[in-house]
């Protein structure tokens, strides 16, 4: 039976059919749906969890593998940076049950802060990496990855990109094949990576990679599709689809294993075509390797380093077609993502802007506090960076800067990698205020539970992390919980806490508007009472609009009745927002 599956759903299906017993992740676009789908399988068959961060997730998967189970771990590209520490040494220990790490890259940065290329991780850790080009291959390759992992005693990476992870195509559904738990036996020389033993394992890593290179053609993951031999194109993943559509007559070497590379096959292909071209998104990963083999080829000078490829671009570059002229985009205003109507983060950013504070923010929905008209954010770098950066600002500019600087971090991001930053701020005697915007979920990735929510990935009750007690235990002298919908109180607290000579934490706690099922009546503007001053519009709520005549109104279909605009109005012109 065939189903139309997202690449991510197909990976989950393939992992399930391959007998995976443990599946661990921290959510991150475009990888999240893999683990969400794993949680749809019976818990008798698959253990699933959202871990606090990618490093812990990979460590759980490594432990499960050492314990004899097939285990996988999924993350977005930048998550691999967090998990890189265990990854590089898991390459030395090898596996017992198969171990696969899935890294989902985001060329074009649809939902990310950079465009890094995960293929370099496979090369530097000396582990194999596969890259599927549609959902059917997603399902097939995850199974192959587990076989290779066990056959070569190595972790294996599977690389996805957004256009594979979030595209649906047809997949043949199969049955689950149970893979028995392997016997556990202590093997210190393999799993205790102190220098004496690790030196022995590094020898194994090199021998393993050489063996894999020798046997790579027998794995049948790479194939040549000969056609017109004037031009031969080396590609993988999404680029393969663009090449096949743009240049149906070109010869193609399609790489399913993107590390290590099949040197003999590449040499054979290069010898049989007049001109060799590498078509790959992001970095010149294949191109550099092929040039290092002494084989001339074209690549990045044609395709560029940035953004996604697409059919017309490939066709224009290689087919000699005229590019389709300037993209005739009509003059249309942009529609960037915004904080939702009723979002509990909105008031925090309004107040921070009003107080004129420097805001080191973090990764999540609240990153959108950077957008006009709130424009309240000074920095966003990576998960958890806000707190350390606020401390760094103070250490560079002195305590007076600390009183004007806050860190803003979400509940899930705080648990992910903000806790250690807060420890640093207390231990090294910073004075800034950390605002934890606690909306009781991991919002931007689609509402996954986290340790502060008291629920597991399967929606079952789980022990709930008490953030107040945690902050107190870290030694924060002042911890305050405030409701961000009470703007006067919020302003009072933020003003007082930021001026204090001690580090402080303010927890602005209110569930995500998309989760809050308690419906309130929408707010309504009494146009007779309204002075059209525009104060209510300063909070940047997409439900509040002004027509050409200057009349301000609230779109009842969007309004959640949160009442922030009522608090902004000095004339009592806004009603509604009742329970």
């Amino acid at each position: 039976m065939k189903e139309l599956l997202l690449g991510n759903e197909a990976v989950a299906r393939g992992a399930y059919e391959a007998g995976v017993r443990v599946s661990v992740a921290y959510p991150g676009t475009p990888s999240t749906e893999i683990t969400e789908n794993m949680a749809n399988f019976s818990k008798d068959e698959v253990y699933c969890e959202w871990a606090p961060n990618e490093k812990v997730a990979l460590e759980v998967a490594i432990g499960a593998s050492m314990g004899g189970a097939r285990a996988m771990c999924c993350m977005k590209h930048v998550g691999v940076n967090v998990a890189a520490d265990p990854l590089f040494t898991a390459a030395y220990t090898g596996v017992r049950g198969g171990l696969v790490l899935i890294a989902a890259d985001d060329p074009g940065m649809h939902s990310s802060q950079n465009e890094q290329d995960s293929r370099f991780y496979a090369r530097s850790a000396h582990i194999p990496m596969l890259e599927p080009s549609d959902s059917a291959e997603c399902k097939e390759f995850i199974g192959r990855a587990f076989e290779i992992s066990e056959a070569y005693d190595t972790p294996v990476m599977l690389r996805l990109v957004t256009r594979i992870a979030h595209a649906r195509s047809l997949v043949e559904i199969g049955e689950r094949k149970e893979v028995a738990l392997k016997e556990y036996e202590k093997d210190a020389r393999k799993y205790v990576m102190m220098p004496g033993y690790a030196k022995g394992r590094h020898v194994v890593v090199e021998a393993r990679e050489n063996k894999l290179k020798d046997e790579i053609d027998s794995l049948n993951l790479n194939r040549i599709e000969y056609a017109d031999k004037k031009m031969g194109i080396v590609c993988s993943g999404s680029a393969y689809q663009y090449v096949k559509e743009a240049l149906p007559n070109a010869s193609v070497l399609k790489l399913g294993m993107v590390y290590p590379l099949p040197e003999q096959l590449i040499r054979e292909f290069a010898a049989n075509v007049e001109e060799l071209v590498v078509v790959e998104e992001l970095e010149p990963f294949f191109e550099d390797a092929i040039k290092a083999m002494g084989i001339p080829c074209h690549g990045k000078e044609l395709t560029g380093l940035q953004g996604e490829l697409f059919v017309r671009k490939v066709g224009a570059i290689l087919g000699g077609e005229e590019p389709a002229g300037p993209f005739e985009t009509p003059n249309t205003p942009m529609r960037p993502p915004v904080l939702c109507p009723g979002c509990p983060h909105r008031a925090v950013f309004y107040v921070l802007k009003k107080l004129g504070l420097t805001v080191c923010a973090d990764i999540g929905c609240y990153t959108l506090g950077a957008m006009a008209p709130l424009s309240a954010v000074d920095s966003v770098v990576c998960m958890g960076a806000s707190i350390g950066m606020a401390l760094g600002m103070e250490k560079a500019r002195g305590i007076e800067q600390a009183k004007k600087t806050v860190a803003v971090i979400g509940d899930s991001t705080f648990v992910h990698s903000g806790i250690t930053g807060l420890v640093d701020m207390v231990y090294n005697q910073g004075h800034s205020t950390v605002i934890i915007v606690d909306n009781s979920t991991t919002g931007m990735t689609g509402h996954q539970p986290n340790p502060t929510t008291g629920f597991s990935i399967r929606g079952e009750i789980a022990p709930q992390l008490d953030v107040v007690k945690l902050c107190e235990a870290i030694g924060v002298p002042s911890v305050t919980v405030v409701d961000p919908f009470d703007m006067a109180e919020l302003e009072k607290v933020l003003k007082a806490e930021s001026e204090k000579d001690v580090p402080s934490v303010v927890i602005a706690r209110r569930p995500c508007a998309l989760l809050d099922k308690k419906k309130k009546t929408p707010c309504i503007i009494d146009t007779d009472a309204c002075r059209r001053c525009g104060m209510c519009m300063k909070i940047g709520c997409p439900a509040i609009v002004k027509d050409d005549a200057g009349v301000i109104s609230i779109d009842a279909s969007l309004c959640t009745g949160c009442g922030l605009c009522k608090q902004m109005c000095h004339f009592g012109a806004i009603k509604g927002g009742e329970n």
């Binding site: 139309l4 595209a167 047809l170 205003p333 993502p337 940047g540």
Partner: protein, 189 residues
Amino acid sequence: MENLNIVICGVGGQGTLLASRILGHIAMEKGFDVKVSEVHGMSQRGGSVITYVRMGEKVYSPMIEQKGADFVLAFEELEALRNLPLLKDNGTLIVNTQKILPLPVIIGAAEYPKGIVETLKEKTNVVAIDGLPLAEKAGNVRAVNTVLMGALAKRLPFDKETWINALNACVPARFIEANLAAFASGYEA
């Protein structure tokens, strides 16, 4: 059949994914190769969203590019205008005559273009439908997407029964009655 390329665009939260699921279901029923490219993540927070549906003998890229779409199904006027360049010269644009102001317009940093439907009509084949009253009349204000599906269905080479079957397969039972009525009103519009 030559590959059929359909762009579905709107604003995050408008329910564009049901339309692509129904089209995907029909493609499978008909034995076509099919790819659907969806938007997840940040744009879903009230930003522009776009879904590509491609079906035919063999589909490679999951994306539809400039002048590649046989149909653009737009849930909102500004998004219709934004995605006009994706439409083939002889393609058809089906637009829901609803305006959702983007934040840059709300705060006065940009202007919402005037007379979008008229502009579009000067440039291409346009079917303009006021979906909201039709959905209300059908019994579910949220069924605007199904009204638009009805308008698209009338212009595609699949019989009505195929669509009804797909709706039955993709819409939860408790909403099916209103959605079938909404579909019929779009089909007749």
